[in-house]
Amino acid sequence: MTDFLNDWGLTLVTFIPLAGALVMLAVPAVEHRAIKQLALLTSLATAAVGALLLLDFDYGAAGDLQFVVDASWIDVINSRYIVGLDGISLPLMALTLVVVPLCVIYSWDHIPDPGNPKAFFILMLILETGMVGTFLAQDLILFFVFFEVVLLPMFFMIAVWGGENRRYASIKFFLFTLFGSALMLLSFLALFFLSTDPATGESLRSFDMRLLSDLAGAGILGSTQIWIFAGMFIGFGVKVPMFPFHTWLPDAHTEAPTVGSVILAAVLLKLGTYGFVRIAVPMLPEGAEAWAPWIGLLAVIGIIYGALGCLAQTDMKRLIAFSSVAHMGFVMLGIATLTDFGINAAIFGMIAHGIITGMLFFVAGSVKERYHTLEIRRLGGLLTQAPRLGWILGFVSMASLGLPGLAGFWGEFPAILAAYSPAEGLPVETFRTYMVVAAVGTVLAAGYLLWLLQRTAMGKPSEEFADSDEIVDVTRTEWISWAPLLAGIVLFGLLPGLIFDVTDPAVVGLLAAGSGG
């Protein structure tokens, strides 16, 4: 079993969804039930393989890549099919494997207009392959390909099943992210040509991420590193999204169908921050050091700007989207400190944000389905009309504002704390200022979330919906698809070590290579 997992585990977990999508092509489009069953089966099978990997993973050596496969792929450009799992990839892979089946379950009786579940699930499964592949790839070109594979399905998910403004939103999403990744690719190529073997001084011409992180930019001039890092900064920054590249996100979220929003918030945004942690920071330490204060600045601007944006929103989904900008600001602040403490916090923040904001979008989708609107001033009295739904919204909002004991706390608080003592060579005063600003951001977060709760969940139902018989409480499919996420919020809130213990050795390992250790 272990041998089999070693050789095939990661490949299976990446490509089972794609195989499922191909099989689904053969199912007639009218067979809705068979299509849904096939989608669920595929995503559960993928999750099962993932669970086996999690069981077989050697947690004592979480800093090392495990289940590594290294096979020939594109010899002419020295790019290889290298995949591996370590403590940084593991939680993110697990998050993806959990979220996708939940989205399939949620879609069971929530296929958005204009229907066509066949195409919808095919896109969702292709997305899963792209997301899992990105977290596992250990070759820059393989990473790039998986990173881009998610673009087309997400574009179509927004464009076909989205709201009123879907054409604008989908093309904006597509153009922004492609712009970023085009520059990112230029940076990858620069790394390819400039990395030299320290022993011989010859150009390596390698895309192997393991090798490039070990080298940590040795042989590349600091001034060049700054340029290469800039390309990656834009590439990953658009995806995160960081202020000022964030403008695609509120549009995309507002227009996307519910599960599209969930996947976007829970996993897709993490591809950007993961890129910073896995590629940009370890491979270009000098570039990272030069840019860190600016990343930190944009991060805290994002925190404050996102929070103020939330206060100004009249649409619930748009509000949650802006809260994503703010939360990802905390993640980026953690990364900007360049300390193992900060980056651990960032990874925890990614997972926490994935679960919590994904859950918020689920709730928003269900509210929309009942009220046919997300305009905050027309809502109200959710707690009287659908008390369980109202309580879930309240609970998740508390988690989102960082209530201690729930998962959100461990993403924000350590990131703020890390800014108190950034890595050596970074301006301490600047980062301490950021720390204060970020702390103010948490207060604002409490403000906009509580205000949202007050306006939507409390009070009396507005007259137009008072007698609506469509407003029912949480349904069975909703319970099934939400329970794991709600449990996760509590579990990781009470036992944050579950994640920190896995990520820490890997983060320390990555940073140690950078400091010449």
Binding site: A29, S72, W73, I74, D75, V76, I77, P114, A119, I141, F144, V145, E148, V149, L151, L152, F155, F156, A159, V160, R166, R167, S170, I171, F174, L175, L178, F179, A182, L183, L185, L186, L189, A190, F192, F193, L194
Partner: protein, 507 residues
């Protein structure tokens, strides 16, 4: 006695018959088509398209035997070279020609056009291209160019009673002969400098320090301009949109892929063999042409409402991507190899994805009788398979992984960055920016097909899927499979296009 006089007057060059077997096969099938037409008249019509496609595939056989043989062959006193590079390009031409025959079969038969003549023209144009791939001599190049151009002028006007088709052919013809004249003038300048028409000799003559720089520069510019017309690079593209729109669509597909590739083959042979030592002249020229083509083509494509015209402008931009590596080709030997492989890879992948896009245009036009982008509204809802196919081809053209186009663009950028010069990196950034501009119009078509509903008063049936003829389906499957395979396993194509031209250079 007479024999010896003739020998004096004309010394027959030694001919390697195996080396020119692909050309002979094509020639044989062209003659056979004429015979079939003369002997059986109307009764032969049914067989001609099958015969033409069989001829193209039969010509692949000697290409394969030459490839497995492996040795480079030089014949006709150095004017004709068979190496890996020329074989790869010959294969691209023959297969592209085969796909064009598949696309033409129903179109030409149902349109009541001259059939036998059409395929004869097609075969002779492909023959010209196949010759071009091996030509290492100015005269051979020119003969190959005219051999492929003159049938193409005729094919563009094949819809005889259609005004637009006549306009298409006439424009193409007038601009084409003008370009040929410019080309010939440039060639005469180079010949005057070198005293030989062989590219190797020209390289030796123009590279030296004592070469007359003004004459050489003028010669290079004129020759490049002549072929820039063929590849429809900005600002020599003006014929393309009108010709593409007016010509029969299978002919447009042929022009936009095979004819463009033939122009590139000539440019590659010239740059890597003929002008190799004069990188100070051709590099800035190529830089400017590439950047202008990318920006010009993409910006003009943004405003198009007709899909064929849009593909014409996108073809201008694609030519820009392919010209880009030539702007750094002279930096070093490794860069030169990278650049050549990049362009050849691009040509091969481009052939698959662009022919595929035209196959969908032809299939959809059977229902809508139009190539207006508006007529693609809601295609996904009544003909999902064609909409998915079109999306695949358009996104491949845009360079989105995991579809073939990404690897083509990737190789281009790799070649541009590899010499680590400011000009190269700058052009790499231009390529990156243009990919984003181009995505806008490709994605717009995709959203027309997927997002919008088919209009109720469109004048055609939007309830049932479009019936696609067998031969067009075959073309779609071939090009679609190639587009996907080249994107997911680029090694398949990269293995073949990892070629060099510099081995033939005298060091």
């Amino acid at each position: 006695m007479l024999g010896s006089v003739l020998t004096l007057a004309f010394e027959r060059p030694p001919i390697d018959w195996h080396a020119i077997a692909p050309e002979l096969v094509l020639l044989g099938f062209g003659a056979l088509l004429t015979l079939v037409d003369i002997v059986w008249l109307e009764r032969g019509r049914a067989a001609v398209s099958a015969l033409a496609s069989f001829g193209l595939l039969a010509a692949m056989v000697p290409v394969l035997t030459l490839a497995t043989d492996g040795a480079d062959r030089v014949t006709f006193w150095g004017a004709y070279v068979i190496d890996d590079y020329s074989l790869v390009m010959k294969a691209v031409f023959l297969l592209a020609g085969y796909v064009v025959v598949l696309l033409s079969t129903n179109y030409i038969a149902e349109g009541d056009y001259w059939e036998s003549e059409y395929y004869q023209m097609l075969l002779s144009a492909v023959l010209g291209m196949v010759v071009m791939a091996s030509a290492r001599d100015l005269v051979t190049m020119f003969v190959a160019l005219e051999l492929l151009s003159i049938p193409a002028y005729l094919m563009a006007t094949w819809r005889k009673r259609d005004l637009r088709s006549n306009e298409a052919g006439l424009k193409y013809y007038l601009m084409g002969v003008f370009a040929s004249a410019v080309l010939l003038y440039g060639m005469s300048l180079l010949y005057g400098t070198a005293g030989s028409t062989l590219l190797d000799d020209i390289n030796a003559a123009v590279s030296g320090d004592d070469a007359p720089l003004a004459v050489v520069t003028l010669g290079v510019i004129f020759v490049v301009a002549g072929f820039a017309f063929k590849v429809s690079a900005f600002p020599f593209h003006t014929w393309a949109p009108d010709t593409y729109e007016g010509a029969p669509t299978p002919v447009t597909a042929f022009l936009s892929v095979a004819s463009k590739a033939a122009g590139f083959v000539a440019l590659l042979s010239l740059v890597f063999v003929g002008f190799w030592g004069r990188s100070d002249v051709y590099q800035p020229l190529m830089w400017a042409l590439a950047a202008a083509s990318m920006f010009g083509g993409n910006l003009m494509a943004l405003r198009q409402t007709n899909l064929v015209r849009l593909l014409a402008y996108s073809g201008v931009a694609q030519a820009g991507y392919m010209l880009a590596p030539l702007a750094v080709a002279g930096e070093s030997l490794t860069t030169a190899d990278d650049a050549l492989s990049a362009v050849v890879t691009y040509l091969a992948i481009y052939a698959a994805m662009n022919l595929g896009a035209f196959a969908v245009v032809i299939a959809v036009a059977r229902r809508t009788a139009s190539a207006e982008i508006d007529s693609y509204r809601g295609l996904f809802h009544y003909s999902p398979a064609l909409a998915v196919a079109m999306t695949v081809f358009l996104m491949a053209l845009a360079g989105i992984p995991p579809l073939g186009g990404w690897f083509a663009k990737f190789e281009i950028v790799l070649a541009l960055i590899s010499p680590q010069t400011a000009w190269g990196v700058a052009l790499g950034v231009v390529v990156a920016l243009n990919s984003v501009i181009a995505l806008y119009y490709y994605a717009r078509i995709a959203s027309y097909m997927w997002v919008e509903q088919a209009p109720a008063n469109s004048g055609f049936d939007t309830a049932s899927p479009i019936k696609v003829p067998t031969s067009v389906s075959a073309a779609l499957i071939l090009t679609g499979a190639a587009t996907l395979a080249f994107g997911i396993l680029p090694q398949w194509i990269g293995h073949f296009t990892d070629v060099t031209l510099l081995a033939t250079l005298p060091s």
